[in-house]
Subunit: 272 residues, 2 copies
Amino acid sequence: MEELLRANEGFDLSTLDAGSTPGFTGKKADGEKALELGSGELATLQEKLFAESRFGGQKSVLLVLQAMDTAGKGGIVDHVLGDTNPQGVKAFAFKAPTDEEKQHDFLWRIRKQLPPAGYIGVFDRSHYEDVLIHRVRGFSTPEAIEERYGLINEFEAELVASGTTLIKVMLHISKDEQKERLEARLDDPTKHWKFNPGDLDERALWADYQQAYQVAIERTGDVPWHVIPANHKWYARLAVQRLLLEKMRELKLDWPKADYDVDEQKARLADS
Amino acid sequence: MEELLRANEGFDLSTLDAGSTPGFTGKKADGEKALELGSGELATLQEKLFAESRFGGQKSVLLVLQAMDTAGKGGIVDHVLGDTNPQGVKAFAFKAPTDEEKQHDFLWRIRKQLPPAGYIGVFDRSHYEDVLIHRVRGFSTPEAIEERYGLINEFEAELVASGTTLIKVMLHISKDEQKERLEARLDDPTKHWKFNPGDLDERALWADYQQAYQVAIERTGDVPWHVIPANHKWYARLAVQRLLLEKMRELKLDWPKADYDVDEQKARLADS
């Protein structure tokens, strides 16, 4: 799955079908069953990651999620990581920066939320906002944004060098799909709180955002992007789970060996 | 359930049967089914709590878990809050304080982890360590510990006044049950990482810890404690879930009303 979804040299977002399901031929029910089947292994991998860190392991995992509004970032955390132990997952949703955050460089608030060793971090939006909305809305000068691509590559190289498995995902929905999802929110009073009139202002800039994503994906590919067709929520969830599974299997995680004499401790316990 | 488990005036920890299941007459399978049945409501309450906070709501929930080792604090987070959206839950496990933390008053590191409005926070250990292990081990003077009971009551009153629903839980296991659980850890190589020889040093001080809990429960009851028999893990999980449900129902949470004109936004969307 990882190779199929990776944005390699020459990747063109505009030609990717948001309704496709690369690497999976089944339907929704099959996809949900496959997701269920993978959840146990992911929970075990997470626990091993955590266990290793208690014995000095320095590995962590960071899943960065970027997408247009309604693409399902929040649902990923819920459905893909829902069966792992919440104590081993640090999910953080970045909003518009505060005044304090604006007074620091754009990576300052990002660094504060990085997962410690042993944890899976999930960023719902990230430092990429500073080359996406900033580019589209002109919040920063073109020169500043130009510089940020390089700073991001350096920052991510540093992360990887420190033991973080960085998995960058763009969930890709079509403009029509977003319309349907926004309509569903407006039609359901229990969902009105999720809608904001500003969402439509952003939607009006759809083409500009797609272009900003295209450039960001091209310019920050030292750690590769994975672009996941997300019109089918069940597929996007399965694809993210498989990405996590594939990358975490590569870590060759294992249960730490006891650093004490097990028999000696058993004898102490028996006497206690 | 809340009243049944509440440590009222005259509560005596030494007479509480850790193997009992107050308020529930079923067996393990029934308890697990009941837990499953309650999880949907808890997830909805959590989402409403979060939704309200997006529209200015100031409410949060903080579940404080204290217990002897192996009592199942970690499992509570996993099994009781596992079906809620991980993005709305902030679980934090307090370890031995760092050098920096030791240079501040004992509530400093606690305050940093308080749940923001809209969130359910879970503390696996807490400021109570400063009147439990500190008392048993003599890490602080009796005078300092004496003063802390009052400081804790003041701190918790402040929390409640700021909109936090504070739920304090001691999971109560028997000394024999702990022995079995530690044996199980030592018998299973995939669990060796969870064992530490120091656990047996603490176990040797069992009676002192029970006494420290008894005093803490008596002296910090302005916000009442709930002591949950936890020899049956399934019961402890169900009891915590029901406590959360009962306390969160009292918040009268509801979906926020739209602060925009829904029809106007529907028309804008249709044109977009």
